[in-house]
């Protein structure tokens, strides 16, 4: 079980889109270390030839008839938006100019 470092936590935070201050990275690293060493006990279970279960039900694809039905109107969909422009969600820029 490798120790989890603040640098690794910073990497996880970036992957998870969480802008955390440096002092919090240390605290989370210590807590995640404790939790991970506890949950790592799963590796001691003998699971040779055991298939994984991703879901409690034996799921199959569920289809509905391919017909148009009522859906949420754009006004209702935009009502809770943090920013709206021209009846669309306005978002910050997504491309960076080099």
């Amino acid at each position: 079980m490798p120790a989890i470092t603040p640098a690794e936590v910073a990497h996880l935070a970036r992957l998870a889109r969480l802008e955390l201050p440096a002092d919090q990275l240390d605290r989370y690293a210590a807590q995640l270390e404790v939790i991970l060493s506890a949950v790592a006990t799963v590796s001691a279970v003998d699971t040779d030839d055991v298939p994984p279960t991703s879901h409690p039900l034996a799921l199959v694809n569920v289809f509905r008839p391919d017909v148009v039905s009522a859906s949420l109107g754009s006004a209702a969909a935009l009502e809770a938006a943090p920013a709206v422009e021209s009846e669309r969600f306005r978002v910050p820029r997504i491309l960076v100019e080099d």
Partner: protein, 498 residues
């Protein structure tokens, strides 16, 4: 009269409304008054919908006046966990990120409650995005246990359970991913059921871990819980994991309570060390009572249950880190740091860091770690295999018994703040409840009495095979009836007055 209205069971309330002995508006007003009087101490509710509740109650009274037949719970007030969407009122999931968000649609559960004439009083407090066992992870402050205001009401659905125990509502909705219905029921002296996975629609339930989440009924009696179960359960085309089969006969089972000849499995791995003495005492007493009623106790072994907690705390954070990725402040919810210069990615990272509390951040990072390249097989993949072993344990045990019994939680309600800084200690509260979520099987918690050493409620857990939810109610009703006879009253009559 109005203070007495809040002490009635849901079935008695519905009967009184149906016979015209009291109006639904009077019932709703009595509960709104009770909330106004005591919720300052309990903090079960995040939002009380006075107007909406009175309007829904007036509609029930109007329907009755026009001669329309009323459903079995029409006019009965209910507290809705704030993880279920409902139009016209906020849905926050106990998070700052969603503060003030008003969803544009009703969850299927919400729609079914409304269609049944159930009067929704408001939204109840919870650990943020249902992550926790104490409601202390709510961004809006903890809920207090009505038995002792210094203690936790359980979690994540502590608000719903506390509302029942404080006589603020006779019915409530909870959601249970690892015990969030059952553990709060246990520590507040109330009843809660996690139905078979897929038994109740998840449409409009803000997802924590999609393969584990299940909404369910909460009440003060087994019969009331069954009546509410029947209202919310059943196939929903809007949830692709919803089971397309008849709802098990839960109300008939609750009315019967006949356990003669039933084999009651005592789970060796969920007793003994690690359980408080008074919890063990009440559990053993419950087994004796069921035996005296004609059930046959059988010891069963579920050798993989001790690994359930570790598997759960890999599977849950993995699914949660994926589910919670949608909270990015772009389409709804609060957006932070959009100064015109920052990129979308920067704004998302600021929004999420500002909006999520520490427990949510811990679990998102834990899930991100467990799913990352290099660790996936060792953690998430291995946990999924352990999940298979847990399901096999259930299958083998249910060849020897009809239901399994255990304590719901290892201890009675602990003090607020006691485990807040020790995430792992908090996780251990769920040790007996988690296996049923991993296997998708139904389970109930109901009051088994008070622990002699601290005078606080103890919960008994009943587990049944998938789609045999009715067995929970059959055994629960038998035990409740025998215990209430012994006590001479409902357990909650012993709770201190607020």
């Amino acid at each position: 009269m109005t203070s007495e209205l809040t002490r009635l069971s849901a079935s008695d309330t519905a009967a009184a409304v149906s016979r015209g002995e009291v109006s639904a508006v009077e019932v709703a007003q009595a509960h709104l008054d009770r909330i106004a009087a005591v919720d300052g101490q309990v903090h079960a509710f995040l939002h009380v919908d006075n107007q909406g509740a009175l309007a829904a109650a007036a509609a029930v009274d109007a329907a009755r006046a026009s001669g329309a037949g009323l459903g079995p719970l029409a006019g009965v007030p209910l507290a809705l966990k704030d993880v279920m969407t409902m139009t016209g009122v906020p849905t926050t999931c106990g998070s700052r990120l969603l503060e003030g968000w008003r969803p544009p649609y009703d969850a299927t559960v919400t729609a079914r409650l409304k269609a049944a004439g159930i009067v929704i009083l408001g939204k109840t407090n919870m650990d943020e995005f249902a992550m926790g066992s104490s409601t202390e992870h709510s961004a809006y402050g903890p809920t207090h246990n009505p038995w002792d205001l210094d203690r936790i009401p359980g979690g994540s659905g502590g608000g719903s359970a506390a509302a029942l125990a404080a006589f603020e509502a006779p019915l409530a909705i909870g959601t249970d991913t690892g015990g969030s219905i059952r553990q709060p029921a246990a520590v507040t002296g109330t009843v809660g059921v996690k139905p078979t996975y897929g038994g109740v629609s998840r449409y409009g339930l803000v997802a924590l871990a999609s393969s584990l989440d299940q909404a369910g009924p909460c009440a003060r009696t087994v019969l009331d819980t069954a009546l509410l179960h029947a209202v919310i359960a059943g196939h929903d085309p809007r949830d692709s994991t919803s089971i397309d089969a008849p709802v098990p006969p839960v109300v008939d089972a609750a009315l019967s309570g006949d356990v003669r000849g039933m084999r009651i499995g005592i789970v060796r791995e969920l007793s003994g060390d690690g359980y408080q003495a008074g919890v063990r005492q009440r559990f053993e007493e419950a087994v004796e009572i069921l035996t005296s009623l004609g059930a046959e106790p059988v010891e069963v072994s579920c050798p993989n249950f001790p690994s359930a907690l570790a598997a759960y705390y890999l599977i849950l954070p993995s699914e949660a880190s994926s589910n919670l990725a949608k909270f990015d402040g772009m389409r709804y919810g609060n957006r932070v740091g959009d100064d015109g210069e920052a990129s979308a990615e920067e704004v998302m990272a600021r929004t999420r860091a500002a909006g999520f509390g520490p427990e949510v951040i811990r679990r998102i990072m834990l899930g991100t770690y467990a799913l990352s390249a290099g660790y996936y097989d060792a953690y998430y993949g291995q946990a999924q295999k352990v999940r298979t072993l847990i399901a096999r344990d259930f299958a083998a045990a249910f060849e020897q018994c009809d239901v399994m019994l255990s304590p719901t939680a290892p201890t009675t309600a602990f003090l607020l703040g006691d485990k807040l800084d020790d995430p792992l200690a908090m996780y251990l509260n769920d040790i007996a409840t988690i296996p049923a979520n991993l296997a998708g099987t139904p389970a109930m918690s109901l009051p088994a009495g008070l622990a002699p050493e601290d005078g606080l409620p103890v919960g008994l857990q009943i587990m049944a095979p998938a789609m045999a939810d009715d067995r929970l109610y059959r055994v629960g009703a038998a035990l409740e009836s025998a215990l209430v006879d012994r006590w001479g009253h409902h357990l909650l009559e012993e709770a201190p007055a607020l």
